[in-house]
Assembly symmetry: C2
Homo-oligomer: 411 residues x 2
Amino acid sequence: MKKIEGGINAAKGFWANGIAAGIKKRKKDLALVVSQKSCTFAGSFTTNLVKAAPVLWDQMLVKESDSVVALVVNSGNANACTGKRGIEDTRLMAEITAQAISPLGYPARKEQVLVCSTGVIGVPLPMETVEKGILWCTENLRDDIEAGSDAAQAICTTDTFSKEIAVEVEIGETMVRIGGMAKGSGMIHPNMATMLSFITTDAQIGKATLQSLLKESVVDSYNMISVDGDTSTNDTVLVLANGMSDCPFIDEQSPYFETFKEAFMFVHTHLAKAIVRDGEGAGKFIEVTVEGAKDKATAQNLARSVVSSNLVKAAFFGSDANWGRILCAMGYSGSEFDPDAVNLSFSSAKGTIDVVKDGQPIAFDETKAKTILLEKEVSVYAEVGSGTGTGTAWGCDLSYEYVRINGDYRS
Amino acid sequence: MKKIEGGINAAKGFWANGIAAGIKKRKKDLALVVSQKSCTFAGSFTTNLVKAAPVLWDQMLVKESDSVVALVVNSGNANACTGKRGIEDTRLMAEITAQAISPLGYPARKEQVLVCSTGVIGVPLPMETVEKGILWCTENLRDDIEAGSDAAQAICTTDTFSKEIAVEVEIGETMVRIGGMAKGSGMIHPNMATMLSFITTDAQIGKATLQSLLKESVVDSYNMISVDGDTSTNDTVLVLANGMSDCPFIDEQSPYFETFKEAFMFVHTHLAKAIVRDGEGAGKFIEVTVEGAKDKATAQNLARSVVSSNLVKAAFFGSDANWGRILCAMGYSGSEFDPDAVNLSFSSAKGTIDVVKDGQPIAFDETKAKTILLEKEVSVYAEVGSGTGTGTAWGCDLSYEYVRINGDYRS
């Protein structure tokens, strides 16, 4: 597997574009991704009981459609809490897109168009603007790197940078590509929160295999990140596979399954971590690894509890080696471990320092700890026993900036 | 029931004192409460897997002792993550207290002394200082209001004010008193977080009744408050009843049971709310009431999810009528309700404003909303259906100050 330049349209036969349609005041706000051949696809969605209209639409497609051809995404408006009108607007977005791309050589029914929206909630979509935007966006669909970047920019909201990734992996003797883009920022929490992540690949892979692979990937990537503990109404991960690489068909019995899976997981994990790095007001990227738990789920739950703790996050903001809050956060995670068996260390590019041994603090050099924790990327390593379960979660610090952004967002 | 002046030593036969023993640099840090007659008692403790030594001690007493005589509390050091030495130090604190008060007319074994500690974790107690402090503290035990206040001050950590309450209630023809003190501030979350709350009463009531009453009270008071979502290693609520009012004996069959229960709940709820008002860096007090849920537990869970949301809290900091975040927080609470049946309003001393009807936003006057939300005390009222379940939770906003306090705490 090799990282290559590019993003959502890096795989063969995927075209993309992103434009400023006018939903936001100035910035890009509408992205389109289409495939020359119809795609198998898979989706994973927010667990929030309050679901935006496009989430309901995509969930229906995942359940009822065999293939899709396009993905249309707007930012600036989430089309959430918009009632029947919201449902109708999502359907319209799919229909307009299908009608616009069909004459261009991408024949599609509306049930072959995935739709996502992100932005403010409770405000109906400006459909006239959206319609014009979709038509305009289709005119300049391209497979170059710049077009992928435009699309990646168009799905952003409060993101400070766009998030893209592409890899190449050999399946049999064929080079297969997997590309993706994501948006994140606020409300990122385990169980997927206001984040969108889209992956395309030219691998040949069935819908059921893709869905089961996605399910497994989500557990170890998006569900292991936390910015602020809130889970949104619009979170969506979608994967499209058009088979155009003509690689050997991939299923769970295929000799290439593990190779593909590894690359697929890499792309998801890369995008999940990029989302955290861009957490609202985040100044530090924090990786927490738990080892020695009785099983993987326990380790993951402990790690997640640490990156989700406001007190831990505030301590990282202050570059404070506050091991007590980490122990405490593991303690209330709901998962079992032996507090008296915990070993804890902090590390960064500046080195490693042990702070807890067998559940009790050990004397450590505070100056050295500060030097380590002042770095932008900091790791916590926690041994919690002699089990085989390990898990890693990613988060960020809690800053003044987070409070400022979120105190002001709507007003 | 009538509110009266006083606190932890308002009930007959309870004496108290609070002093600066030297565990903290300057402030009061050691409190003692003793009863002229031995007390029935009850306790409720943190659910954190990592439990401080005094929590383990008090849990053992609740399980194995029939009566207690005294309560000793130190602030400045939590005696948590201190291993075997911590366990021994707690036992010593009980023993020193028992030996110090016995000659003064409060005969006690160490198993009759409840112990609490709060403050930094992972540092052994300075036992010489603690011992001298206990001896000194016993010398000036009093039943006046000032002594109660001294005790209330001595249990504080980052609290900006001490929390006391006392009420008088007629049981049969006898006036019974219930008094209490609490400390809170950071890490306050449902399921009880770094908070201590102590209640004394001169009612005649059995240990089992007291324990079941306390269990019920905790659900509606301390478990319905949230400052920052973290649950600590030391949270404790203790109740002591010495029977010295000579009121009719209270049990669940007693005609006075409900009267006593009401006063008892009032005291707990008052202290819980005082803890939230003093949340670290809190500028606003937020009350969230959910009605129409299918049952009480559902309503309480929905209300708690709203007051615990960082995004909701940050919105209140910005006095922003961000109803979307409230809907969203209810949506990921894990409890069921019909999003399309939700009505939402904000209110304060400046009036009430409806913002959501049947799950969708309604046009409202943003200026009026701002005026309402700029108040120090703000209420959210959410109807979520036609069920009979109601629940109220209390929280505070998320401020720059919270981040500052918690970024700096240990260093």
